[in-house]
C-alpha cells in the first residue's frame, strides 16, 4: 500500500452550532454535521454524517429555498455513569440554501448506518442539454 492509500483517520472535533447566529431554536447542545455535496447532470446529492440518529428522529424541512436538517439524538440511559469522555452527545442541525435549480417536490432522503443521503433532483429546465448542430 502506498502512503497515499493508507490515509489514517483523525479525530475531528464536533463543531457546535453557533448560537449567536440565532440558531438553533431548541434547547440542548447542537452540532454541525459533516457533509459531502456532489453534483451530477441530474441531481445534487448531499451526504451527512448523523451518528446515533434514528431515521424517525430526523426532520427535513424545506421552506423559502432553505433546507433545514434537524436530528435529535437520544440521551444515554441514566444508570450508565460516564467515566471517560472524548466526545459530547447532542443533536445535529444545519441549513442549506437551495438554488432555483432544485426541484423541491422531488427531494428524496434515505438513512443508513447514521449517514443521510439526500437526493435533490434538478428541475428539468436546469439540466444540461446537448444541442445538436445540424
Amino acid at each position: 500500500m502506498t502512503a497515499k492509500e493508507r490515509r489514517e483517520l483523525e479525530v475531528n472535533q464536533k463543531k457546535e452550532v453557533d448560537t449567536r447566529a440565532g440558531e438553533p431554536t431548541r434547547a440542548g447542545v447542537w452540532y454541525v454535521p459533516e457533509v459531502d455535496i456532489t453534483e451530477s447532470d441530474d441531481a445534487i446529492t448531499l451526504y451527512a454524517d448523523l451518528p446515533g440518529v434514528r431515521p424517525e428522529n430526523l426532520d427535513i424541512d424545506v421552506r423559502d429555498d432553505v433546507l433545514t436538517l434537524t436530528a435529535e439524538v437520544e440521551p444515554i440511559s441514566e444508570n450508565r455513569k460516564l467515566i471517560w469522555r472524548e466526545y459530547d452527545i447532542g443533536g445535529f442541525q444545519r441549513r442549506f440554501t437551495l438554488g432555483e435549480r432544485v426541484d423541491q417536490a422531488k427531494i428524496n432522503a434515505t438513512m443508513k448506518d447514521g449517514v443521510l443521503t439526500l437526493t435533490l433532483p434538478k428541475a428539468e429546465e436546469h439540466k444540461p442539454r446537448k444541442i445538436q448542430v445540424s
Binding site: L9, E16, D36, V53, R54
Partner: protein, 147 residues
C-alpha cells in the same frame, strides 16, 4: 457599564455553557494523548453501569464487517476502515468534509473484563461494546455478621 451590558445579554448563560463545554473538550483532547489512549480515531466515551463497562464510538457509514474488536486483559482494541465511495466521472464535489481512512484505537479499561462475554453492536452509526467486569473484579458486598 460594560459589565451590566454583559449580564444583560440573554445569550450570556448559553455562551458560558458553550465555553464550558469547549474547555471540557480541550481538556479531554489533552487527555487522549496520555498513555491511556493510543491512536486518535475514533473518539470514545466509556460508561460504567456497575456490571459492565460500555464503550461507545461514533462511526457513521462504517459497515460492521469493516470493524475489528478485540479484548486482551484490560485492553480493548478497535480497528477498521472507513471507505467513502468516490463520485463518478460525471460528478463533481461542492463540499467534502467527511473523512475516510483506516483507524486503530487501543484503550485500557479500569478493570479486568470477561473477554468471553463481550458483546458489540452497531446501530445508526454508533458502535457500542459492552464489556462485563470479570468475576474477580466485581465488587462484593460483605455482610457483617452480628452475634
Amino acid at each position: 457599564m460594560a459589565l451590566l451590558r454583559l449580564f444583560g445579554d440573554d445569550d450570556f448563560v448559553s455562551r458560558m455553557e458553550q465555553m464550558q463545554r469547549e474547555m471540557n473538550r480541550l481538556w479531554s483532547a489533552a487527555w487522549s494523548s496520555s498513555p491511556m489512549g493510543s491512536g486518535v480515531f475514533p473518539a470514545m466515551n466509556i460508561y460504567d453501569d456497575g456490571e459492565s463497562f460500555i464503550a461507545r464510538a461514533e462511526l457513521p457509514g462504517i459497515k460492521s464487517e469493516d470493524i475489528d474488536i478485540s479484548v486482551a486483559g484490560k485492553t480493548l482494541t478497535i480497528s477498521g476502515n472507513r471507505t467513502i465511495e468516490p463520485v463518478g466521472e460525471s460528478e463533481t464535489y461542492h463540499r467534502r468534509e467527511r473523512k475516510s481512512g483506516e483507524f486503530r484505537r487501543a484503550f485500557d479499561l479500569p478493570d479486568l473484563v470477561d473477554a468471553n462475554k463481550v458483546m458489540a453492536h452497531f446501530s445508526n452509526g454508533v458502535l457500542e461494546v459492552v464489556l462485563p467486569r470479570a468475576e474477580q473484579a466485581k465488587m462484593r458486598k460483605i455482610k457483617i455478621n452480628t452475634k
